[in-house]
Symmetry: C2
Subunit: 112 residues, 2 copies
């Protein structure tokens, strides 16, 4: 049973800005979305994220607290470090830049 | 004979945020700097830039005008497209994110 917030946009918007065999640069626009309860993101490749606008909370499996990301906040998430987007601001655009650095194979946040 | 603006910081500040064999992500802080008169930048690899803060003017060898970059402006500069930073704002930080996508060799804006 999952609470659905009707003030939030239906889905996050993903735009691939650059893609080569070795990297993928994405712009992600969130509006209230979060990783579904109980789910963790576990990625094949390192990811570097920069929060450009808005606010978000990230949780990492090896940490007890939530890291609050504000504009300008950037973070490198090592491959296979389980994490979740705990929350993003409701009713406002939270804009992320996400750089997935691969090893030549397709990888990254396929399941985000 | 080059005019030197004493209000500007002495040099741009480069910080490498990420480096792998296939990419280099840099944060660049400019304060009034520009590419020296008559000089063009000519890079081995594609570069993607995002202006995070401040203002700058870019000139491309195949264009007559100057492109004004404001916060949020991003641009992919293909390898070997000659370009110059015509100006950056004086007395304020202009913050760039620059992603050099290589082919496994060292490359990028070595001479910037």
């Amino acid at each position: 049973m999952e609470i659905k917030n009707l003030f939030a946009a239906v889905a996050e918007v993903f735009e691939v800005l650059l893609e080569t065999p070795n990297l993928r640069l994405e712009r992600i626009v969130s509006d209230g979305q979060a990783t579904p309860p109980g789910k963790w993101l576990d990625q094949e490749n390192d990811e570097w994220v920069l929060l450009l606008r808005g606010n978000a909370g990230l949780r990492f499996a090896d940490e007890s607290g939530i890291r609050v990301m504000r504009p300008g906040a950037s973070l490198r998430i090592p491959a296979h470090l389980r994490h979740r987007v705990e929350w993003t601001e409701h009713g406002a655009k939270t804009i992320w830049l996400a750089l997935h650095s691969g090893d030549g194979e397709k990888g990254g946040a396929k399941d985000r």
